[in-house]
Structures are given as structure tokens and as C-alpha cells.
């Protein structure tokens, strides 16, 4: 497994995501740029320029037509994936923390931060109704006054959104009425990341409370817990194997003051059925453990290639170039920062 190094961001990467086929990889960072890459060799396909603040989240719809990004510049933007043209600009009162396309790609949701006197909202727009975009008027806006949403994904069939909160709560918000359909309070601290399985039937939540937990998407039943010794920043479920991957480490604020040895920055594979059952959480079997110099902020599996997973690292101190690795089964060449249009 040889990793490919992708260099295209100048500040910490905040999220990465593959499209459905897994041939493209989207990355967003605090440096306002959204990059899209060929996953097969790590070549950069292009950038989506327009945001003026840190970009917190990115998503791509199922047929790789549109790309959605949310940023701290108080806006959520819709892009044409192929041409990089900005299709819509949705202004908000506070930073956009999470965003996503539903199963059909017709409805988008995004959540805003609780800041500057505004509370956290979960907004829903129907793209089939251009009026909503023009008026910047969502068909549904759900306020979350208590604890802001820190991570959110769509549930299966676009019926609801699964949102992880600052206090460790996980809620299902109906996309039709905005109601809380189900609640789960398994985590004791902030949810850092939520990622669904390929078929969206289960999802994994990564929390600051040093655990990652597996849930059923529809019933929100807790299935398994994966324990580590450090806050988990990101977790993902392998599309083809019974594996999950977890990345984490010391909180970014403490990174520079602790040695890498104490920080335990590593990505950890755990066999899903073997780790975790609540009966015996100590029976952990690590398939492989890779120690990394810097903290992992996000990770993603492709849906296609079994061996392709990727992590990205936050910067430690003030390193000007942020890199992330693509682990592949193929020996591929390394290429730095060439802009190539997606061939037709």
C-alpha cells in the first residue's frame, strides 16, 4: 500500500469526500478553496473558487452533477461539478458547519453555527423549486437552541437528517416536518464526525469522548462501541469489509504543546465484529495501526476500490502546505498541483 501525497491546501483540511463512484475526491480546508482530485493518481482536476472564509463542509450528489460547500463566510454555495461554475449562493447569519444532498439529489440541507447571537438552524432547500434559492428562503428551517449541530448526514431515502450535537446527542430530524423523530444519547461529549455506510443503513459516529459508535440509521439503535484512548476526530465504515477506521488524537489546541508520543496520533483499523460488543469492550484487535506525525481531522472510504481509504491531517504549528495521503493498492505516480480538466 503506497500512499499518494496530495498537496493543494495551505491550511488545515476540514473535510474530504468521495463521489459515489469513487473516482473523484473533494477536499475543503480553512484556506477558502475547494479542490477536486482524481482518486486514481491524486492529480488535481480543479478548484471551486468563491468562498471568502474557511470552508467547513462539502458534499457531492449521487450523479456527480452538483457540489455543495458550506463556509465560515456565512454562506452555502452550490457549484456545477464539471465546470466549476457557482450555481447558487445561500447567505446565512452564521457559519455553515455541515451540508449534504439527500438520496435523490433534489433536496439539500445545511446547518449553521450558534454564534454572533444567532442560534443553530438546520435548513432545507428543494432544488427543484428555484424560487426558494432566489429568495434564499428554505422550505423548512429547524432551530436547535440548546446544543449546536457539529456533524450531520442524510438518512436513507432522504426522509430525515441524522445530526450529532455538541453535547454528544444524536437526533433524527424529519425533512418534511422538522420534528425530532428519534434521539440517542450514547456519547458523553461532542460528536466530531458522522459517516454512513455505503447503503446508508448504518452509520458511525466519532466523538470527543474517546469512542466511536455504530448505530442503525433508521431506528438509531446503538450497535457497537469502539474504544480508544484519545478523542476520535473521524471514523468511517469500509464499504466492502467488516472494518471501520478511526482517526484522532489530541485536540488541535494541545497538539503543539505535547510531544507526538503522548498525542497518540494514529489511524486505527478495527474489525467491526470483533471490537466493541458492549459485553466485552476490551477485546480490541487492531488489524493495523499506523502512527502518524500529525493529527487526523477527517477520513473517508471510497465506495469502489476496496483498498482505497484516505486520511487527512491537520497542520501542526504553522506548516504552510497541508498534505493528505491516499492509501492505494496500486503503485502510482506522484504529481503535484497540476490543473487538468476532467476529460470527456
Amino acid at each position: 500500500m503506497k500512499p499518494i501525497l496530495l498537496q493543494g491546501h495551505e491550511r488545515s483540511i476540514t473535510q474530504i469526500k468521495y463521489n459515489r463512484e469513487g473516482d473523484l475526491l473533494f477536499s475543503v480546508a480553512k484556506d477558502t478553496v475547494t479542490n477536486v482530485w482524481y482518486s486514481v493518481n491524486g492529480e488535481r482536476l480543479g478548484t471551486y473558487n468563491g468562498h471568502t472564509g474557511a470552508v467547513w463542509c462539502v458534499d457531492c450528489d449521487w450523479d456527480t452533477k452538483n457540489v455543495l460547500t458550506g463556509s465560515a463566510d456565512n454562506s452555502c454555495r452550490l457549484w456545477d461539478c464539471e465546470t466549476g461554475k457557482q450555481l447558487a449562493l445561500l447567505n446565512t447569519n452564521s457559519a455553515v458547519r455541515t451540508c449534504g444532498f439527500d438520496f435523490s439529489g433534489n433536496i439539500i440541507m445545511f446547518s449553521t453555527d450558534k454564534q454572533m447571537g444567532y442560534q443553530c438552524y438546520l435548513n432545507f432547500f428543494d432544488l427543484r423549486d428555484p424560487q426558494q434559492i432566489d429568495d434564499n428562503q428554505p422550505y423548512l428551517s429547524v432551530p436547535c437552541s440548546d446544543h449546536k449541530i457539529t456533524s450531520a448526514v442524510w438518512g436513507p431515502l432522504g426522509e430525515f437528517v441524522i445530526a450529532g450535537h455538541e453535547n454528544g446527542e444524536i437526533n433524527q430530524f424529519s425533512a418534511k416536518s422538522g420534528e425530532v423523530l428519534k434521539k440517542a444519547k450514547e456519547h458523553s461529549r461532542q460528536i466530531n464526525d458522522i459517516q454512513p455506510s455505503v447503503d446508508l443503513t448504518i452509520f458511525i459516529s466519532a466523538s470527543k469522548d474517546n469512542t466511536a459508535k455504530l448505530f442503525d440509521s433508521t431506528s438509531l439503535d446503538h450497535i457497537k462501541t469502539f474504544k480508544t484512548e484519545r478523542p476520535v476526530n473521524s471514523a468511517a465504515i469500509s464499504p466492502i469489509m467488516d472494518h471501520v477506521v478511526m482517526g484522532g488524537g489530541q485536540e488541535a489546541m494541545e497538539v503543539t504543546t505535547t510531544s507526538t508520543r503522548i498525542g497518540k496520533f494514529e489511524a486505527r483499523y478495527a474489525k467491526m465484529w470483533q471490537f466493541a460488543s458492549l459485553l466485552n469492550p476490551t477485546a480490541s484487535t487492531n488489524i493495523t495501526q499506523s502512527s502518524l506525525e500529525e493529527g487526523i481531522t477527517n477520513s473517508a472510504f471510497t465506495t469502489s476500490s476496496p483498498h482505497l481509504s484516505s486520511f487527512k491531517f491537520s497542520c501542526k504549528g504553522w506548516v504552510p502546505v497541508i498534505e493528505f495521503n491516499l492509501f492505494t493498492s496500486h503503485r502510482l505516480l506522484q504529481n503535484k498541483g497540476r490543473e487538468v480538466r476532467r476529460g470527456l
Partner: protein, 703 residues
Amino acid sequence: MQDTVDMVDDPEYEEEEPSFSDPEDFVDDVEDDELLGDILREKPQEADGIDSVVVVDNVPQVGPERLEKLKNVIHKIFSKFGKITTEFYPEVEGTTKGYIFLEYAAPTQALEAVKNADGYKLDKQHTFRVNLFTDFDKYMNISDEWETPEKQPFKDFGNMRHWIEDPDCRDQYSVIYEAGERTAIFSNDAKEPITVEERARWTETYVRWSPKGTYLATFHQRGIALWGGEKFKQIQRFSHQGVSLIDFSPCERYVVTFSPLMDTKEDPQAIIIWDILTGQKKRGFHCESSAHWPIFKWSHDGKFFARMTPDTLSIYETPSMGLLDKKSLKITGIKDFSWSPGDNIIAFWVPEDKDIPARVTLMQMPSRQEIRVRNLFNVVDCKLHWQRNGDYLCVKVDRTPKGTQGVVTNFEIFRMREKQVPVDVVEMKESIIAFAWEPNGSKFAVLHGESPRINASFYHVKNNGKIELIKMFDKQQANSIFWSPQGQFMVLAGLRSMNGALAFVDTSDCTMMNIAEHYMASDVEWDPTGRYVVTSVSWWSHKVDNAYWLWTFQGRLLQKNNKDRFCQLLWRPRPPTLLSTEQIKMIKKDLKKYSKIFEQKDRLSQSKASKELVDKRRAMMEDYRRYREAALQIYQEQKSIRLELRGGVDTDELDSNVDDWEEETIEFFINEEIIPLGDLYFIPQKLWKILPSSQYNGAECIS
């Protein structure tokens, strides 16, 4: 949605205010005493004057001509304690009766007078006896008939040594974690700890085991509680507000508690000695500073306990809790003392004073006979180290010999079991970091030198008194010595600043059995049998990676137990063995026979355990598989909805809509290599004359 989230603003919630008044038929059945007993005690009492009167006996009997003089003398003595408002000298036939009444302005002054003037020697014939007037009443009223105290029902706590009967001889330990929120008792097992008891907020600070492991003491704002028996039921409570330190007597009969609060002049409560079995307070003591806890040191059998104050050593005896022979020992300049752990012998030392040399004294108790005195010169400091059985005493003497700079350390080894207690000396020029006796042997270990050149030396005290250096390991990363309680094996640990380096040593042949590390370890704890040792990183000293690791005595790591905000692990001590030395010898002789049985047992349990583990994992896998099957079935049922949502395109499998695919050719810029021609030419030109023409042609081909 709006309603559920903004519940707080709901008008209904604001209107309903709970009523705090009692219902009409409520009867207050709480006694004031129970509710605020501690405050009631300080409630001012109405003074009727009687409380302020003292009676002084043994006053000289004088006629009227000397009465004035007597009054002057009495006044001089007794006005020290407060203003005397009235004095009365009863007379019969012109002479005083020999007792007088004095009234003070306040009852506290009267108390002070009783305390200080009682036993005052006026002259050879007259020693004052001073008592409170009210005391006479009190003692007169005592009924002449003996009232048998009410029989207390016997509380059966079950077998207090239940844990010793464990068929697999597992030892127990207490663990405090979640920053003190939770306390648990585990049974130690090589595979994984077995939970015996776990409670939230069992203690407010930390816990202590009694010396023989019978009781577990927990600390609370109101006092301490003792727990024991099979289910860790509460055995006893000792109410001592703000208790912070405790100490058990070695016999487990008494417990000493210390609280920095609650000390008053007339009622000493800083230190209280309790009887564990009855729960009664035996005696209270004053205490100014708890810096050198334990303040009271117990003799090995719990018969005596001693305390050092400037220039005195007070020895008390049990069960009366009174001073031994009613007087303290006056030892000018006493710096430190220590009981022998094997006999009723006390060792103490006094520093040099002008021409008098420093002195270490061994004194037999209760006879107070000095059995050995050793004079020492140029002493800076002394430390007393007893071997656990009391066979040897090592006095570590830091000296500055005349004419030299710096400190030299002498180890003065007292051989207690021999006549006249012979002393041998080992001198060391390097600074000493740690010293420790082998608990039941005649070896001792010393860490000496300066970091990073720290050496570990092992000495053996031979029968003829010769002290032999057996082995020295140089350049050790260690600052503490931990002997196994059974001797022979030890752990040299570099705790905290030395990152938790560990060396497991067998001192019978002085080999390093293993060298390991528990990063940032702060504590090392041997189990009472010397089979296992635990290293731990306590949340009290280090905030991350709080865990305790279990090792065998040989240094093989068995378990890593990560516990959230782990604080403290303490092994439950075992009572001393009931076997005689001969029986132990016999067991050691037949060890091979026993080990066969145990090995077989181990193998059996191991295969059983691994089978259990496999079964457990299988069950887990099966559970998960079943769940997935059910989930996938629902998923299949929803296929039509999915197709509808994505405009009829089947996206369930990556290649399920392969017919709709369009061939797409992507060209990648793979590689470009630029080879500067000039350079290539330059090198061959140099070689022109040397190279044969064929090679030269080859170079041309490349370019």
C-alpha cells in the same frame, strides 16, 4: 418541533411555582439535635455562677494572723487564670479548714484554673487539688448501685477474611477512577480483573486498607467509614469533621484520625484514637501540624504508640491510652524515632550539640533500658531504616568529615539479633537517591550517583557481619526501589521525570530479568504475595494515559487496564501467614509436586478461557450478521423507492447501471524527464581520450 425545543419559554411552565410550605397534617419528627447538633453545641449557656466556682483542697490551715498572707499567695496563683470575683475561706475555731472556694468571672476561667493549678505544689506538704464545684455535684450523684450496661446486639458481618478463601488464591485491589467519582474492588486474575464491588462516590478523597486487609476505610466530610466482609458492608463509622489523614494500629484494634478543623483548647479533637470494634472514641489529642504523618507511631503489636514533641518522646500504652509510667521521656534535641517492626524496641537519634556527639539509641520498651548507643560525629542528617522483621536496622548517616567538602554517607548496619547489637559500616561518597531493605532477607539495595550516571548496588549482610557488595549495575534509569514483599525480586523504577523506566531484577543471582517501560508511570505496587506488580499513571500526577498495567514478578506484561481518569490502585494486604517456618520450608521443598498440579490447572483454565473467548467472539459475530441480514432485507424492500428517487437509475451496486455508462477516456500526464544535453556532453568530453570509441558512440546515442 418548535414546541419541544423551546420548552423553557412555554408559559405554562412559568406559572406553576412549587409550594414549599408543609402540608397541614405534617408533624415535624426531626430532632433539633439531629438537624444541627454541631451548632447547638456552641449555643451559649445561661451561667448561674456555679459553673465558675472552683474548690481548692490541701490549702494550709492557718490562723487569723497568717490568713492575710495566705490570701495573697492564693490570689497570686489563681488570678493568673482570670478575675476572681469572690473567695471564701471556711473557718472553724479561728483556723481555716484547709479548703477554699473561688469564684471566677466566667466558667472558662474556672476550667483553666482546674486544668493548670490542679497538682500545684505549694510546698512539701501542700499540693493543691483543684476541682470544679459542679463536679462535686456530679460525682456525688452517681448511683451506688452498679447498672449493667445494656447488651448491644451482636452484628454479624460474616467472614471478615472471606477474600483469603478464594480457591484460586486471587488477591484483591481497590481502584479509584473517574477522578474519584468511582471506586471499585477487583479480584486480580492473570487474564482480566474480576469485579467484586463497584460503587459511585464511595469515598470523597481516597481509600486506605487496614494493615491486615480486614477493613477498607473511606473518607467523607463527616468522618471515616470502615467496610468489610464478603459484600463490603459498612462495619463502623467514626464521626470526625473534616478528617484528612488516618492511620491504623498494626493489630487492627485502633484507628487514628486527623482533622485540621475542630480543635478547641478544652476538648482536644485534632487527633482522635478510636476503638475499631466498639466504635468508641478512646482519646483525643492536640496537634499543631500534620506535616509528619503519622504523628503517632505504633509498636509492631499495637501495645504502645509514641509521639515526638520538641525535646520529649511520649509513649502511650493501650488499652488505657495513658502515658507509659505516667511520664514522657525527656530527650533533648530528639530529631526522629522509629519502632522496630519486630520487637518493642524504639530507635531514636539526637544531633550533635557542641562537644556532645550525635547519638543513635536503641531502647527496650516498656523497661526503657538502653540496649545500644552509638555515637556519631560530623553528622548532618540521619535516617532510620528497619528491615521488615526487625532483624536489622540501617541508619543512613550523612556526614561532612573534617577537612573535606561535600557529604559522605555512611550506612550503619545494626545486627539486632546478635548479642550487644554489633554495628558495621558501609561508606559511600556518592549522593544517595534511594535505600531499601529486602523485606525478609539480609540484602539491601542502594541507588546512588548523579543523573544520568545512576548506579544500583546490592549488598548482602553476612552472618559474620561482613557486608558484601554482590553486584552493581551502572547507568540505571531509576529513582525508586520496590522490593517484592517476599524478597529476592525487585523493580527499579524511574518514575515521573524518568519517564517510567522499569527494570525487573532477581537478586539471588543479580540478573536483569526484563527491562521495560510504562511511559510516565507514577506508582509501582507489589501484590502482597509478590507474584504480581502493578505500575500506574495516576490522574493525580499526570492527566493523560491514565492506566494501570499488571506485570508478573519477572517483568512480563499481562494486562493494560485503561481507566478513565484513573487515580489510585491499592492492593488489599493479607494477614501474616499462619504457617510455621518449618511448614513453609516443607512447601518449598515439595514445590515441584505442587507446581505440577497448578500448571495443569492453569492449562485447563487457559484452554477454557480461550474457548470462551472464541465462543464469545463467534456469538458477537453471529449477532452482527443477524442484524445485518435483517437490515439488508429492509434495504431490498426499499429498492423501488430508491429507483424512484434517482429517476429509475439503479445505483445499489456500482456496476448495476453499467448499460448507461458512457466510455470516457482520461489522459494523464504521467512523467516528463528533462535531461540537459550539455551536461551529458561535458562528461564524455572529459573522458574522450580514455574511452574506447564504441562507448563514446553509446553516449551519443543517449543524447
